[in-house]
Every structure is written in structure tokens, then in C-alpha cells.
């Protein structure tokens, strides 16, 4: 029974992995590892993986041996057991331990057994025993109490010695009992006890059945559970070593990644070669080529190269020939070099000129270049254009340079400098004039003719002019096709278009004038026009001003028509307006217009102040002088509008509508053309503008002679003047009305421009100034009589606040008294009001009010503070700066607030502080892969730190000691005793 049970136990306690099948394990290993077993079995966690394996192996093998034992005959086991019983406990316990050695002795003894006589045998046997004894003493390291065992071992040996090599199976010496006895451990106590009990039972009463079976072993899943549990605990423990590190890193203010510092030691070449693997595409390609060529070793390649060199044998003659050749070439080169050097040194201007000319002759023209390489041509054109632009901007060749200035200051005495200056000027002119060459070829050719006398520049000029022509041509070509480079830029295109337009206009003008005017007048007019044109051209053409002159020129028929229609509309509208208007028109027309304008931006009108108006009138006169300049210039365009004519108009204009006059003006313009002479005269007087304009202005004022252009100008100017507005109240009102009507008028729309807006703003500012003045006055009053106005206001405010609250509460409370509205009373017409009730209610109301007021006063914190209003409620404006609760990492409000208190910026901190304060939490070095944290690395760092610290301490101590020694010696020298 026991026999069948024993193996079972083994099988269950030492679980065999299902997938495991290893037969090549010898017994000795299985037995010898009994100690290991103990450990592995009871503390399997502490074993490493390899040991675990061993465990499984050993357990496996043991179970195997056990099963073998099972197959052994029953008798044998019994015998063994009996024998064991007879022996003392000590011996039986330690049998297993020396088992190996008995085996050895067995084999030794058995060898001699069959061949030698018994005496000799015995002698030898004794010797052997001695040897074995000594060996077993050594082997006692496995056992704890050695000496006793040696003595007892003799008995064991005698027993085994009788058995021969073949007669005594080794296993017979090892019984299960003895095996179990050898095991020391509390865990197996029960098992042992059970076994003993079994034995006793077997010995004493075999018939009795075993009532106490061994505990049922755990099921596989349960076992797994245990291992898992233990495993988890273990890994938990292992992983917890990171706890401190993690905590530390979390609390660090800044972390710099990657954690490992770059190694300072450079890798060796061999290491580099070893680690090298082709990564980039090029490397791979090279690798591939090398592989294809089957060239892998450096040695091999050198050998091959050597071989090749050996093959290429050259004869001596050949070498000589080659040498000669080389020498010839060298000498030629030397000669050439010499020549070049000499030529370089020549200072003659003439020579240089000749050289240059030669070069130019040989150089290709633009056309040719274009034929060959259009891109190149384009770039050249661009270059030339750029040069011109630069010249235009910098005016480098005008007498602006330091050198010329100085030269001019000193007085140009020698011819050379004068020539140089002249030449420079010429260059500048050339460069500037080149613009014309783009559009008109004639001029450039003229220019070249005039320049012919100059010998030095002649060729150049020709060439350049030629180039210019080319450029003009090419520009056209390029413009027609695709626009690239500088011409593709928007402003360049605009300029070109403008030029075109201008040319067109000019052409039209000429043609028209040619029809209308005759002879000298026409030609002179042309000149004037040109002047005007130049005025219009330039910077003023940008923005809103650009179109105005054209509009007033009225040479474009279309525009003329448009304008006419506009004017007609205006007229119609004005006709509809009140008859009062006529009167209005008698008054100051400019002011009238101005008012119109001011109302457009809706600036508040001021009170009439005569003085101011007068002042303004003076100012206005001055301004109008300026205005009239423009006026004149407009008139200039109005061609031949004579003075007399003008005056006539003025006369007519009296008492008439503005617009009509305008119309008349327009009509007269046509007439004026006929009277060109006078107009011409007038135009000639442009230079003496100022005086006349003043006069004219006066007449203008009286005669109320508006002009389209002038009107606008005035609007602009007058809007600057804030005082203007107060000049005529009635007019303001009327004009506002008028404005409403005319709001859709195109002309007014036209008038809006940024300048005006700006001016209005200015007016606003002045407006504010006035108010500010009041404020300052207020302040003065305040200073003079403190605590009068403001105290009252403050009190009022506070009172209102309280009253509001009272009203609110009262309203709520009165609901209970009155009940729902519309209930408890009769409604409708003719119902008598219950005055008594009303009175009662009022009484209650008053009472309640007083009560509430009292309570509020009581509750308010500022009720006792006279000059304070405390807001106890939520202020909406301040919610922006309030946090609902203390944010996460902070524990209290104070903590959070203190964290905010110190500002971070440069204004409040020193540079170093600032840098420290703005340090980011995480710094990642550029372009480096961040590896996961490594324990070994950290340990290393820690150790290094520790070492350093120690060393520092040592150094410190050392230095101190030496110092103290020195001090001592010093003191001794001084004769002071030191304890």
C-alpha cells in the first residue's frame, strides 16, 4: 500500500510541466540536487529561471527513479526497511549523503572479489576502507556531523562489501525511508510521520486498514494561482526599487533628456568599422557596387592594383618622349603667363581703351544674344533696367558724392578733375534719360548725336544707345509675350501702363487741340500742358488724387459725359429743394459747402462765437490763398478761360444757384477755348500766383463763385477748422437737411478721402480739449470747496444701492400682503378704488420698508463706515481674475497666491534670476533619441557622485589639516602654546 502511495506523493508535489520531456538526466544529478530541491521547492521564487529548470529536471528525474523503484520487487523493499529499522537512526538518516561514495567502494571491492584470496582480500579491504574513510571525511562537507558518521560508515561498508559487482544492485541500498529521513524540513514532517505510521502498521497489524490518507494535493490551477500570487509579489518588490527614482524625477524642476550623458571617449576605428552598416542610400549604393565588383577586402584591392601596375610596362624611349612633350607645354605656358603679366602692368589709357573697344567689338549684341539665349538677354535687360532704377533712386552721378562735393568746394582747378566730374554728370544724365529711350527712340538718337564730340565715350555711347534701342524693342517683345523678371513686378507693370495711358492722353490732347487751337497759341499751350502734366505726374498721382485732374481736364469724352450726368442729377435735386435755398446761396458760399461737409461726419456743432468766426475768417483767407493755387492750376486746364470771362460769370452768378453756375461754367469752358489768348496770358502768370489769388479770393467771397475743384479743396481745408462749424447755426440745420437729400450724391462720395477723415479727428480732439477744460475747471472747484459735491454724490450712490436692495426685498415681501395681482379686487371700468385698503397697504409698506432698511443697515459691513462702499455681491468684471477653487498642486489659497506674487519678467528680475525662473520643465536635446531609463546607468551615476563627494570631503579635510598644521607652526614660531 505504501508502495503505491509514495510515488503518488512525489508526482503531485513535484509537478511536471506538460510540455517538458527530457530523458537525459542521470540519477546522480537527481540525487545530488536534493539540497537544491529543498530550496527550490519551498522558496521557488528566489530561484532564477535556470534553477527553476533544474528543479523541474530534478523533480522529473526523481519521480522517474521513484517509479523505477516501484517496479522493484516488494520483498526487496521490505528487506531494506527491516534493515533500516535495525540500524540506528543516525546512520539511516545519512545514508543518502554518502551513497555515492559507497557506490565507488562497491565497484572497487567488486573488482577484486572474483580473483584474489580472502586474506589478501581482507587486507586490501581494510586499506580501502581507510581510503574511503579519508574520502568520506572530505565528503563530510555535505554533512554536518562528520566524525560520528565515519565510524558508523564502517558498518555500512561491511554490509555492502559482501555484495559483488553484479549481485548487489545499487538501488537496494537506497530506500525511500532513508531518502525521506535525509530530508530536513518541517514541511515534510507530516509526510515522514505518515510513513512511519505506515511502517508501524505494516509491522504490527497488517490487517488494519489505513484510515488517515495523505492530504489531497492541490489542483493544477490552484498551484498556478499560488505561483502567480507569489510571482506577482516578487515582481512588485522588484519593480518598487524604481519608486524613489521616479519620485525624485517627478519633483525635479527641470529634466534634461536624454538621461545618459554623451560619452566623451571617441570610438576606435576598429569599433567603427565593426559597427558600420550602410544606412543612407549612397552608402547602400556604394556597398552594392563593391559587392558587385567583388571587392571587399582592402588587401585584395591593393594587390590587384599592384598587378595592374606591373602589367603596364613602359619603355625608356616612351618615357623620354613624354618628358619632352611635357617640357614643351610647360615652356609655352610660362611664356603666356609672362605676356599676361606684362600686359597687366601696362598703365596706358589708350591701350586700355583699345583693348576695351576690341572686346566690345567682339562682344555680341543683344539681338544676337537673344538669338542664342533668350534667357540671358532677358537677364541683361533686367540688369540694365535695374541699373537705371538704382541711378534714379540714388542719383549717384549727380554731384552728391563726397569726392565731388569736396572737389567743388575747393574749386575745380585742374582739368582732370573737371573732366571727371563732367563725365560723371554725363553718366548720370545718360542713366536717367534712358527711360525715354524705352518709349521714344528718337530722343535717344538725338542724345547720341549731341554726344558725338566726346571721343572717349563715343563708342561706348553708341554701343549703349544701341543697347537701349534693343532694350526698348525687347521690352515690347517681352511685354507682348510673357512678363518675367522685373517687368513681372506689379509696380513695373503699373508704371508701364501708366506710361501708355499718358501717351494716349497726350496724343488725344494734341489731336483735339490741333482741331481747336491754331498756331502759336496751340504750341504754347502744349508747353503749359506739359508743365501741368509733370505736376500731375510723380508722387501725387498715387491714391485718390490720381483721377481728379483727369476729371477736371474733361478731355476724355466719356468722363465728361459721366460728370455731366452727375451734375444734372444734382441740379434736379436742388431744384426740388426749398425756395429758401436761394437766400442761403446769397450768404457765404464756402461756409455753406463746408457745413455740408462737416455734417457728413456728424460732428457736434458749437455755439456761435463771433470773435472766433472773425478769427477763422482771417485764417480762411490765408488758406484760400493756398487753395487758389490749385484753383489756378485747374483753370489752367480749363484752357483759355479769361479773366474777363470769369468776372462776367461772377456777375451772372449773383443770386443764382450754385449748381447752375457750375453748369454755366462748364458751358463756358467750351467758349473759353476760343478765347485762348487771354487764357494763355493768365497761364503765363502762374508764377505770380499769390498776390492775385488774394484779390481773387476776396472777389470770390463776394461773388460766390464756386468751382468744382475749389469746392473740394475747401471742404478738405475747412474741415480742419473746428470753429467753422459754429459760424452759422441756421445754415447748419438747413444743410443737414440738404445733406440728407444729397447723401446718395456721387460727388459727395467722391469727396471722402482719408485726409478728410483725419482732419475730422483733429477737430474731435480739439473738441475734447474743450471738455477737458471744463474738467480742469471742475478740479479747481473741487480744490476750492472740498467735500461738497463729491461727498454728496458718494452718499447718493450709497443710498441708491441700499434703496435698490430694500425695494427688491420689499417687493418680495409685499407679495404676501397684497397677494396675486388681479385677485381679491374688482377690476374694470368704473370700479371704485378702495382708498382705505390702499392706505392700509401703504402703511404696511412704509413700516416694512423701515424694518428692511434697518436690517440691511445692520447687516451691511459698511454701514458704520461713512466713506466706504463695500460690495458684498459678485462683481462681474472681476470674475475674469478669479479662480473658483485652489488649483490642484496647491493646498491653500495663500500658497497659490504666494506662488504668483513674484513676477517673472525681465523688468522685475536680474538676468540670472530671470533665466532661472523661466527654465522649462522638460528640455530635450535636439536630434537625439531618448532611451528609456536604465537602472545600471543611474547606479553608476550615483556611485560617481558619491565618489566625488568623498573626494571633495577628503580634499577639504586635507587642506584643513595642512592649514591647521601651518597655523600651528606659525603659532609656535610666535611662541604661543597650542593645546
Amino acid at each position: 500500500m505504501s508502495k503505491s502511495r509514495i510515488p503518488k506523493i512525489n508526482l503531485e508535489t513535484y509537478e511536471l510541466p506538460s510540455d517538458f520531456s527530457d530523458s537525459s538526466i542521470d540519477e546522480s544529478l537527481a540525487f545530488g540536487s536534493s539540497e537544491d530541491e529543498e530550496i527550490t521547492k519551498y522558496k521557488p521564487i528566489k530561484q532564477k529561471k535556470t534553477k527553476q529548470k533544474q528543479l523541474s529536471n530534478s523533480s522529473n528525474s526523481e519521480s522517474e527513479s521513484e517509479s523505477e523503484e516501484e517496479s522493484e520487487s516488494e520483498e526487496e523493499i521490505k528487506k531494506n526497511k527491516n534493515k533500516n529499522k535495525k540500524k540506528k537512526k543516525v546512520t539511516s538518516q545519512k545514508v543518502v549523503g554518502i551513497n555515492n561514495f559507497t557506490e565507488v567502494s562497491d565497484s572497487d571491492s567488486s573488482e577484486s572479489e572474483g580473483y584474489e584470496n580472502p586474506r589478501k582480500q581482507k587486507k586490501r579491504h581494510d586499506n580501502l576502507l581507510n581510503i574511503v574513510g579519508s574520502v568520506s571525511q572530505k565528503g563530510d562537507k555535505f554533512l554536518k556531523d562528520g566524525k560520528k558518521k565515519i565510524t558508523k560508515r564502517g558498518t555500512v561498508k561491511t554490509e555492502t562489501s559482501n555484495e559483488g559487482e553484479y549481485s548487489a544492485p545499487i538501488r537496494s541500498t537506497v530506500s525511500l525511508n532513508s531518502l525521506l529521513d535525509s530530508i530536513e524540513g518541517e514541511q515534510f514532517g507530516e509526510l515522514k510521520r505518515n510513513l512511519k505510521r505506515d511502517d508501524e502498521k505494516q509491522k504490527g497489524s497488517k490487517k488494519k486498514k489505513n484510515n488517515n490518507p495523505i492530504n489531497v494535493p492541490l489542483s493544477e490551477p490552484a498551484q498556478m494561482r499560488i505561483t502567480r500570487k507569489v510571482g506577482y509579489e516578487q515582481t512588485k518588490e522588484a519593480i518598487s526599487k524604481w519608486q524613489d527614482i521616479v519620485q525624485e524625477n517627478r519633483q525635479k524642476k527641470t529634466m534634461v533628456y536624454p538621461l545618459e550623458k554623451p560619452t566623451s571617449a571617441l570610438p576606435t576605428t576598429t569599433k567603427l568599422v565593426k559597427e558600420f552598416s550602410s544606412r543612407t542610400e549612397m552608402e547602400m549604393e556604394i556597398d552594392e557596387i563593391l559587392k558587385n565588383a567583388k571587392v571587399e577586402d582592402e588587401k585584395q584591392t591593393t594587390q590587384e592594383e599592384n598587378l595592374k601596375l606591373k602589367k603596364n610596362k613602359i619603355s625608356v624611349e616612351e618615357v623620354w618622349e613624354r618628358r619632352k612633350e611635357l617640357a614643351k607645354i610647360r615652356s609655352l605656358m610660362f611664356e603666356e603667363e609672362k605676356k599676361a603679366r606684362r600686359r597687366k602692368r601696362i598703365k596706358s589709357k589708350k591701350f586700355r581703351k583699345l583693348l576695351r573697344k576690341e572686346k566690345e567689338k567682339s562682344a555680341l549684341t543683344l539681338d544676337e544674344i537673344a538669338m542664342i539665349d533668350p534667357e540671358e538677354a532677358r537677364s541683361r535687360i533686367e540688369l540694365a533696367e535695374r541699373k537705371r532704377a538704382i541711378e534714379r533712386v540714388t542719383l549717384r552721378h549727380k554731384n552728391t558724392s563726397k569726392w565731388t562735393k569736396r572737389a567743388l568746394k575747393r574749386g575745380v582747378k585742374d582739368k582732370q578733375t573737371r573732366d571727371a566730374i563732367l563725365q560723371q554728370l554725363k553718366m548720370g544724365e545718360q542713366l536717367l534719360k534712358k527711360i525715354k529711350s524705352v518709349n521714344s527712340d528718337d530722343e535717344s538718337s538725338d542724345y547720341s548725336k549731341s554726344d558725338e564730340d566726346d571721343d572717349d565715350n563715343e563708342g561706348e555711347n553708341k554701343k549703349k544707345n544701341g543697347n537701349e534701342k534693343d532694350i526698348g524693342l525687347w521690352q515690347k517683345k517681352l511685354n507682348s509675350k510673357d512678363k518675367k523678371g522685373l517687368f513681372s513686378l506689379k509696380f513695373m507693370q503699373n508704371a508701364i501702363n501708366k506710361n501708355k495711358d499718358k501717351n494716349k492722353d497726350d496724343y488725344q490732347e494734341e489731336s483735339e487741340d490741333g482741331e481747336e487751337d491754331s498756331g502759336e497759341e496751340g504750341s504754347k499751350k502744349k508747353e503749359n500742358e506739359k508743365e501741368e502734366e509733370e505736376e500731375i505726374m510723380g508722387r501725387r498721382t498715387f491714391g485718390f488724387n490720381k483721377k481728379k485732374p483727369k476729371a477736371f481736364q474733361k478731355k476724355n469724352k466719356k468722363k465728361k459725359k459721366l460728370l455731366k450726368s452727375n451734375l444734372d442729377e444734382e441740379e434736379k435735386e436742388n431744384k426740388k429743394s426749398d425756395p429758401k435755398k436761394k437766400k442761403l446761396n446769397n450768404s457765404d458760399q464756402p461756409i455753406n459747402i463746408e457745413m455740408e461737409n462737416s455734417s457728413l461726419f456728424e460732428v457736434e456743432p458749437f455755439d456761435k462765437e463771433d470773435e472766433q468766426i472773425e478769427e477763422w475768417n482771417i485764417k480762411n483767407k490765408k488758406k484760400e490763398q493756398n487753395d487758389d493755387k490749385d484753383q489756378k492750376y485747374v483753370k489752367g486746364k480749363g484752357k483759355g478761360k479769361g479773366k474777363k470771362n470769369e468776372q462776367k460769370e461772377k456777375g451772372k452768378g449773383k443770386g443764382k444757384k450754385n449748381e447752375k453756375e457750375e453748369n454755366a461754367n462748364e458751358n463756358e469752358m467750351g467758349k473759353g477755348k476760343g478765347k485762348g489768348k487771354k487764357g494763355k496770358k493768365k497761364n503765363e502768370k502762374i508764377d505770380q500766383k499769390d498776390k492775385k489769388t488774394i484779390k481773387k479770393n476776396k472777389t470770390n467771397k463776394k461773388n460766390n463763385k464756386p468751382n468744382n475743384k475749389r469746392k473740394k479743396r475747401k471742404q478738405i481745408d475747412d474741415s480742419k477748422n473746428p470753429w467753422m462749424r459754429g459760424s452759422n447755426q441756421k445754415e447748419i440745420k438747413q444743410n443737414q437737411k440738404k445733406k440728407r437729400r444729397n447723401s446718395t450724391n456721387n460727388e459727395i462720395k467722391d469727396m471722402i478721402n482719408p485726409k478728410q477723415l483725419l482732419n475730422v479727428k483733429k477737430a474731435d480732439e480739439s473738441n475734447l480739449n474743450l471738455k477737458n477744460m471744463d474738467k480742469t475747471q471742475k478740479k479747481v472747484v473741487q480744490k476750492a470747496f472740498p467735500n461738497t459735491i463729491f461727498e454728496e454724490e458718494f452718499r447718493k450712490e450709497k443710498d441708491e444701492m441700499i434703496n435698490d436692495k430694500v425695494e427688491k426685498i420689499l417687493h418680495e415681501e409685499m407679495k404676501g400682503v397684497i397677494g396675486l395681482q388681479g385677485w381679491g379686487n374688482w377690476g374694470g371700468k368704473g370700479v371704485k378704488v378702495n382708498y382705505k385698503k390702499q392706505q392700509r397697504i401703504n402703511k404696511i409698506k412704509l413700516q416694512k420698508k423701515a424694518k428692511i432698511r434697518k436690517t440691511i443697515f445692520k447687516n451691511r459691513k459698511d454701514s458704520n463706515l461713512k466713506d466706504v462702499i463695500l460690495h458684498e455681491g459678485r462683481l462681474k468684471e472681476k470674475t475674469k481674475y478669479k479662480i473658483g477653487r485652489v488649483p490642484h498642486p496647491f493646498t491653500s489659497r495663500e500658497q497659490y497666491e504666494s506662488s504668483i506674487r513674484v513676477p517673472l519678467g525681465r523688468e522685475w528680475n536680474t538676468e540670472t534670476q530671470f533665466k532661472e525662473l523661466i527654465k522649462p520643465e522638460v528640455i530635450v536635446q535636439m536630434g537625439s533619441a531618448i532611451n528609456p531609463i536604465q537602472y545600471a546607468l543611474l547606479r553608476k551615476e550615483q556611485l560617481i557622485k558619491k565618489k566625488r563627494k568623498q573626494q571633495r570631503q577628503r580634499n577639504f579635510l586635507g587642506s584643513r589639516n595642512s592649514k591647521s598644521k601651518k597655523n600651528n607652526s606659525k603659532k609656535e614660531d610666535l611662541g604661543v602654546k597650542v593645546d
Partner: protein, 454 residues
């Protein structure tokens, strides 16, 4: 009359240092009276910087095309920042160069769905792919070249092929040894040099695990996500599974924190991510919510401070490891369901792969400049950053910094989700009020855990 003329004059000496080594002269008036309202001013600056952040937030860098099927696997190289390997559902593997933004090499590796890719860890010379065809193939990077040469096309063969007896759902390589693990019916442990797995680990239950991930710090530990909604932990040192937690929904991906050994985050089907401490699995350290559909992937930044998640809702989100809501959300009109999102090795970029066959490259910080910046600008950025941090709790700043535009559909989904969550909370509250015994009080962080199997 005497007139006083005031002239603005600057002496060069006063503001230009004489030598290069001279200290920079800082023109600062230290008088505090000349710098009043410091808090108000800094608040305003913080506000402006937050606004600027929003203005300059342009995280999307590029989309890389090449695959002709949805991309389900993506792995970055441990050493080289610009190298990335991706695998699509049709069995094609592509190696990408992020710098040049193009494919460096490609192979038709398998005939079936590729379930996982992993790169051999210490050196990264090889990568492994496992597929539905029950094979694992080992590839050498240098064998795959894009310059198409007939010889090399032939050479595009795996270094070795491992045949598994079980289905394969995921693969991950050990961080220092020549071993890798595959997930499937059981967890198999393989060696480079052995054709058969030298270990098989199970909990004894019949679940298939999908995601599998080694811990980069405690290298013998790895985690799997099982089909029984579980997250399992294994230890290779003692070669046993050690613990399992069953959640309410299935887990799609796992990522370990590379700087905090015991923490890992799990991407769940229930639109949330959960960060666990390996030592206490009965509750989550943090619940990260924000996605509006299943979270498909999660990957830690190598700094261990943030992680990125990819979701079925067509977006990527970036979370701080300790915050509930996401720091940022990325989406483009053409990006469909995102299956993988990975941080780059230097934590500056995010690589995502989605159903629309594209790999996308994002900046991990949307408004940070990519090019090297001037010292002054750097300081200004740092200053702004610290101001933002300081005043970040104030409502206006928080609102602006948190404000993100979502696609219309997602926006409405979000509203809906909010409503439903509110309704649930209300119901819970009511139940608690009316019948307290019927309500089990559990903390939020424990609510999603069904049980822990020991």
C-alpha cells in the same frame, strides 16, 4: 529769448559691448516704481501668449502615401530618429525615412493581414512581422532597398521565418535580449535562433490576447490585452503570468511608461484610456477621456510625460500622464480611422497611420517652431511658456488654451456624450437619494474594473 533744445542722443559705448566676451549690457531700470502693475501686465502677457499659441498652432507636417491598404502597424526605430516601419492590411511592409518623407524600402512580406511589427531592440538591425498566416518573419533592414535592382528584389527575403502552431495577434521584442513574444491563443516566447517557441504562457483560460508589450524599464515584465476584456501581466524572469485584471470593455493597446517603470496605460474600447500602477491594479491612477470612439492605440512619449492616443473617431489626442482631459487634439479632413499613433524618438513628432492608407507626421507641440531659434526668441518662448503655466488657472486663459475646433460630426457627438453622461450621473444621484441601498458606491477610478484575478 533763450530756447532750450532737447536732443535724443545715444552713445554707442553705452549699449555696445567692447569685446565679444564682455557681458551684455542690460538696460534695465531696477526701480520698481517704474514698473508698476506687474501682475496685471504679466497676466496680459500670458493672455497674449496663449492667443499666440492658438494662432501659430499648425501641427500637421505631412502625409506620406505609398500603402495601398489601411495601415495597422507602425513602429519606430530605437536608434535612428527618422526610421519608421509600417505594415498594411494587404501584407506590405514599408520602411520610411521621415526626414525625406518617403519610402526607403518596401516588401510584400505576407499574403495576409499583418498583425504586428516589432524592431529588434538594442541595435535595431532586424524587424519582425507576424501575420494571420501564422508565420513570423525576421527581416534585416539592410536587405531591403528601394533602388529597384533585380538582384535585390530577389534578395528581399526574410532572414528567417518562424512558423507558429497558433494564431498570432501581436508581437513585441525584448528590450535587450534576443527574444520576442507573440500573443494569440497563448503567449509564446521565441528566440532569434530557435525555430520554435521555447515557452508558452497562459493563465489557463481560453482567451486570445491581442496587444502585447514589453516594459522598457523592467525588461522582464510584459503585458497583454486579452479578448476576455482583460489586461494580463507576465514575468519572463520566473516565466509565469502574474496577474490579470478584467475591465468592463476590451483593451486595444498597451504602452508602458519609459521613465516610470511601474506605470502603464491602456487604450480601451470604451473611449477612455486608463493609467495603471502595476503594483495596484484594483484602481486606475488616472482615467483619460476625450475620445468619441474606441481608442485604438496608445504610445508614450520617450520623456514619459505625455502619451498619444489614436482613435476610431478619426482623431489623435495628446494627454499629459496626470491629466484627465487631453492637451491637444489633431485631426484633418482626410484622415480616417487612426489605428496607430507613435511618438518619435526625440518626442518632438508624432507619427500616425490610418485607414486612409496614409502615414501622417505631426508636431507634438502644435505651436512650437521647428527650426532652430535665436537665443532671444528662445528666451521669449520660455518666458511665455512659464507665464502660461503660472496664469493657466485663470478662467480666460484656460478657456483660450483649451479651446479646440472639432469636426462638425465630432462636435455633436461630444455634446451628445456629455448629455448622456450627465443623464447617467443624474440617475445615479436620484437612485442614491431615493434608495441608497440599491446604489453601490464606487469610486470613478474603480468603476470600470470588473475584477482582479490573482
Amino acid at each position: 529769448m533763450d530756447t532750450e533744445i532737447k536732443i535724443i542722443s545715444r552713445r554707442r559705448k553705452k549699449y555696445v559691448r567692447s569685446t565679444n566676451r564682455d557681458i551684455n549690457i542690460v538696460h534695465r531700470n531696477p526701480n520698481p516704481e517704474s514698473h508698476p502693475f506687474e501682475q496685471a501686465r504679466e497676466y496680459k502677457r500670458a493672455l497674449n501668449s496663449v492667443k499666440m499659441d492658438r494662432i501659430f498652432a499648425k501641427p500637421f507636417l505631412t502625409a506620406m502615401t505609398g500603402h495601398i491598404d489601411g495601415i495597422y502597424c507602425l513602429e519606430r526605430h530605437p536608434k535612428y530618429l527618422s526610421r519608421v516601419v509600417s505594415a498594411s492590411a494587404d501584407g506590405e511592409i514599408r520602411v520610411w525615412d521621415l526626414m525625406r518623407r518617403k519610402t526607403v524600402a518596401n516588401v510584400q512580406a505576407h499574403n495576409q493581414f499583418i498583425r504586428g511589427i516589432t524592431i529588434s531592440k538594442p541595435n535595431g538591425n532586424f524587424f519582425f512581422s507576424c501575420s494571420d498566416d501564422q508565420t513570423i518573419k525576421q527581416w534585416r533592414f539592410s536587405d531591403l532597398r528601394s533602388n529597384v535592382n533585380s538582384e535585390y528584389q530577389k534578395k528581399k527575403k526574410p532572414v528567417s521565418t518562424f512558423i507558429s502552431e497558433e494564431t498570432l495577434r501581436g508581437i513585441d521584442h525584448h528590450w535587450s535580449r534576443h527574444t520576442f513574444v507573440t500573443s494569440g491563443d497563448t503567449v509564446q516566447v521565441w528566440d532569434h535562433k530557435r525555430s520554435k517557441p521555447f515557452q508558452k504562457l497562459t493563465f489557463g483560460t481560453t482567451e486570445t490576447s491581442s496587444a502585447i508589450k514589453f516594459s522598457p524599464v523592467q525588461k522582464n515584465v510584459f503585458a497583454t490585452a486579452g479578448s476576455d476584456r482583460s489586461v494580463g501581466l507576465y514575468d519572463l524572469k520566473i516565466s509565469t503570468p502574474i496577474r490579470k485584471v478584467i475591465l468592463k470593455n476590451q483593451t486595444n493597446a498597451i504602452s508602458w511608461n519609459p521613465m516610470e517603470a511601474f506605470n502603464f496605460t491602456v487604450a480601451n474600447e470604451d473611449q477612455n484610456c486608463y493609467t495603471f500602477d502595476m503594483r495596484r491594479l484594483d484602481r486606475a491612477l488616472c482615467i483619460h477621456n476625450g475620445h468619441l470612439n474606441a481608442v485604438m492605440d496608445v504610445d508614450y512619449s520617450p520623456t514619459g510625460r505625455e502619451f498619444v492616443t489614436a482613435s476610431y473617431d478619426h482623431t489623435i489626442r495628446i494627454f499629459n500622464i496626470r491629466s484627465i482631459s487631453s492637451r491637444d487634439v489633431y485631426h484633418t479632413r482626410r484622415m480616417k480611422r487612426v489605428f496607430v499613433a507613435k511618438y518619435s524618438g526625440d518626442s518632438k513628432f508624432i507619427i500616425s497611420a490610418s485607414d486612409d492608407m496614409n502615414i501622417r507626421l505631426w508636431k507634438s507641440e502644435a505651436s512650437k517652431p521647428l527650426l532652430p531659434v535665436d537665443r532671444k526668441e528662445k528666451n521669449a518662448i520660455k518666458y511665455r511658456e512659464s507665464l502660461k503655466k503660472r496664469y493657466g488657472y485663470l478662467p480666460e486663459i484656460r478657456r483660450i488654451s483649451k479651446h479646440r475646433h472639432l469636426p462638425r460630426v465630432l462636435y455633436f457627438m461630444k455634446q451628445q456624450k456629455k448629455k448622456s453622461l450627465q443623464a447617467r450621473a443624474r440617475k445615479y444621484r436620484n437612485m442614491k437619494m431615493n434608495n441608497p441601498s440599491s446604489v453601490k458606491q464606487t469610486k470613478m477610478r474603480k468603476r470600470f474594473i470588473v475584477k482582479q484575478l490573482k
